[in-house]
Point group: C2
Chain length 390, copies 2
């Protein structure tokens, strides 16, 4: 499963004209304005306003509900949350503080970059020290910028305008806890996601200050401002999967969250990679079978889209965001079942022989593989107590 | 090196009357008001006001200076920093946000604790999910509360008043990066510390919200409000060492930062542990030999103190905070040499046979052990490029 370097990143999925995506059309944003999704949205967003009562059901009792909410704390109260971006930890510029600003570096200092390879190595070392699990760099392909950002709380759109000097994107992946994700879908699995949203807000904030401290511009982001997955593919972090998420080549597989920084610092883009995900996903279909809302399609990749929540012009497996959101809303938690069951999601540290075999032998791969993966206990949902007693 | 459970925590070092420590007397706080330390302090604190220029020397150039400063960003700009506590991420109560507060839990909800062992397990699982490397619980021994807190920037003291309902302390240890600490002392090693201060502010903030979300009170802290080391010893996280820091039994050894939460949630205290540190430190003396400022004493433990920066009434190796700070100020970075050279600081994941031998055979331990530890390359300062190219 050693990745091979390839020339095309997200471009390899492009078969038609790609228009920049309006963030307002993303399913979780639509839920706040689209009349058809309004009722479900009310139920879903009540949780984030402290109006969800704990249930008797394990995984949804007070201790799990509070866990998922506490995980959100830093991302929502000190970062931009999942909103429009540019706020708090993800501010687009250094902020004044006392006699200095948040870079705490002498004014006017600029590190002249003579060697972009060396500069890239420095940025990546810094990103890993700050806590990124994986980091890559790509030239910024502006097709993946949102056309407009949309603020869920303020219900405001604004055009995404990124100056031409922002030529590079630094993309980071942040591992979610394996044991907690084995709980999906319930509030423990949501906590795996929410706590990583909080952690990665801190990481991206520090990396942006670092770049600014060296005299360059940096726009730190979460899910806002641009599609993360194609940028991550361009930056060599992994491949697109049937479930629409990035799959990385390490033991994390799809068990990561992504964020990114745009910068004018001259960096050396990474090569995109391939390690068999496309062929594997064609055969496996495990995520599609287990998806509680049938939001993930089975069958071959297609150019067709489900609704305005999909980008046109791509050959891939489009995810039905309406159905995915419906499942979140009815269940009252984030889901993540697709991540849990994916054969690429394995125990930390193990690049499992089983998956290696599957990737090498995709031509033999059929539903037997999926059944065997289950029989071996992979992707099996854990008992709630297994998390609390681990 | 399997720790054995013992009955006495920090109490084992107490030989006289212990008076609560005034934070104003801690060396880094003294530097801001003690006339004798004023000149050094000016040089030292200029860095945090963006007035330190990069040097030509490797480890102190722009890329390393900016790294240490960026690492501080979250701790200083969103947390309480190293100041008086109670601010930002370490607020003592949940803050209002929209229609709810930062717990995002229904008002008035309280998880009745029937089994404090189970409640403690839940809190520890949450702490680890949020990112703590180690977590323990102790009954709150009020001798370790500061008498007064001191705000370095505002130059204000205020008495530390913690209601009697706060019966427990949850103490967390957070690993610092091994490779970065191998650089000590320079700005990369400072970045290992600063980035962990930022990360652990997020962790303690989330854990405090979690406890509040379950209906209990929580005071989250960094270095403020109480001495962390004796609380960590009481909570079973490790032992006191010659260098005055906690040594944990895993491969981190002393390579951790500590923070803590006081709570009224009924928890089950951990047993303190012993695994041979006291006898080992008696013989090893490596930290004392390598300390650039001779702030760490050689010889047997003593009740004597160096100055007002030490607590009276303890039999241990008192660290000379004035000398330690002087070294920080003259060098222009945090130090950490003692942590780098300590034989208990080993590669992540390895509980090294060598140290295991040393702990078991302290009666044979002499300077030969220290020399051999060096010859094997342990604790050796790394070249600056080794960090950037790792």
């Amino acid at each position: 499963m050693k990745p091979k370097l390839v020339s095309k990143g997200a471009e390899r999925y492009v078969v038609g004209k790609v228009e920049r995506f309006d963030q307002k059309n993303e399913a979780f944003k639509r839920a706040t304005w689209d009349p058809e999704m309004r009722e479900l949205a009310k139920a879903y967003y009540a949780k984030y306003e402290g109006r969800e009562m704990p249930k008797e059901k394990a995984g949804y009792t007070a201790k799990e509900l509070a866990l998922s909410m506490a995980g959100w704390h830093v991302a929502l109260d000190f970062g931009s949350g999942l909103f429009i971006g540019g706020e708090g930890m993800e501010a687009w510029e250094a902020q004044p503080v006392g006699r200095t600003d948040t870079t705490r570096m002498p004014k006017g200092l600029k590190l002249e970059v003579e060697d972009s390879v060396e500069a890239t190595r420095v940025i990546k070392s810094a990103a890993r020290l700050f806590g990124a699990s994986l980091v890559g760099v790509c030239g910024l392909d502006r097709r993946w910028l949102y056309s407009n950002s949309y603020h869920t709380l303020k219900r405001e759109s604004k055009p995404v305008e990124i100056g031409n000097e922002y030529r590079y994107a630094i993309v980071m992946a942040h591992e979610m806890d394996y044991e907690a994700m084995k709980q999906a879908p319930n509030n423990i699995a949501e906590a795996a996601a929410s706590t990583v949203y909080s952690r990665m807000a801190g990481v991206v904030a520090q990396l942006a200050q670092y770049i600014r401290g060296l005299g360059y511009k940096a726009i730190p982001m979460g899910n806002d401002t641009a599609n993360s997955v194609p940028l991550a593919i361009d930056a060599g972090l992994g491949e697109l999967s049937r479930m629409g998420l990035l799959i990385t080549p390490g033991s994390y597989g799809p068990r990561v969250r992504l964020n990114k920084i745009f910068t004018d610092m001259p960096l050396m883009p990474d090569s995109p990679i391939e390690f068999g995900v496309w062929d594997f996903c064609k055969k496996c279909e495990k995520c599609a079978r287990f998806c509680p809302s049938q939001a993930i399609v089975s069958g071959p990749p297609t150019e067709e889209i489900h609704n305005i929540s999909n980008i046109k012009g791509l050959l891939r497996w489009p995810v039905d965001g309406e159905k995915c959101f419906t499942s979140f809303a009815l269940n009252g938690t984030a889901c993540g079942t697709c991540i849990r069951v994916c054969p690429f999601n394995k125990t930390p540290g193990l690049l499992h022989e089983w998956v290696r075999w599957g990737v090498k032998n995709t031509r033999w791969l059929d539903s037997l593989f999926v059944k065997a993966d289950d029989l071996l206990g992979y992707g099996k949902r854990a008992q709630v107590d297994e998390f609390w007693h681990s």
